[in-house]
Symmetry: C2
Amino acid sequence: MNIGQAAAATGVSAKRIRYYEQIGLLGKSKRSASGYRVFDRDDLHTLSFIRRARRLGFSVPKISALLALWQDQGRSSADVKRLVETHLDELREKIGELQAMVDTLQHLADRCDGDKRPDCPILHDLERSES
Amino acid sequence: MNIGQAAAATGVSAKRIRYYEQIGLLGKSKRSASGYRVFDRDDLHTLSFIRRARRLGFSVPKISALLALWQDQGRSSADVKRLVETHLDELREKIGELQAMVDTLQHLADRCDGDKRPDCPILHDLERSES
DNA sequence: CCTACACCTTCCCATTATGGGAAGGTCAAG
DNA sequence: CTTGACCTTCCCATAATGGGAAGGTGTAGG
């Protein structure tokens, strides 16, 4: 299977597959006589794993750790869970930051008339002298 | 006032100030005879504005728009409000994506024993053949 | 007056994960 | 053998910084 077919089969673009190989997330691909990358069912399986992990917001280094655990038959589920909970903490922290922005902005927008006049509490707040 | 003092006074690092000038978010700074950037009270005011906008998650292009409105005495608050509401939509969309990740991961983590055994619904899910 | 030392300047590199595109080789069908 | 689809590598760009080098400036103390 060539890279284009692997990409179509897994939803991971050819560009990304080459990138993952380059940074060492994937081992070096087998190559055909002419230098084309060749993928087998196991490779597709791994690529799909990576794609799902990306969708859940894991960074490449974290996926690397997840892959290592996945392939380690002697892993403990505690290790996997710990990794995921750390990720959950980070996601929640990010959500908290974004939510705080939303709260502030919504508060300001609620007080903005949104008409033709220039007065606007939003700009007024951004302009304030404190902080 | 030199760049270091302006940075200390506004909380915007010297690096960032230079960057903002370079990309045109700030006009070209006045310079001393020896080439040092010189900042006055107005500049500090603008830098503080930018810092607050950054903290509320606005991108540089959006801040550029906000600054233009801020400095336009003939603006309408409707324009400001529209910009902010677009931003709010984007923030909320991002939060939604992150929250969906959290929901999925929490669900999986809840089902993971987190002990010494290798069985783990998290890896099992990432590995699944569908999707 | 000269020497430190702190601060300034510009320039280049790195970050994260990906897309775009060029130049050139390969393969299968007609 | 040509065409077109596909592959290869390589370089560039993204957003918004931080790090650090090489070299000029400004000031304070000896």
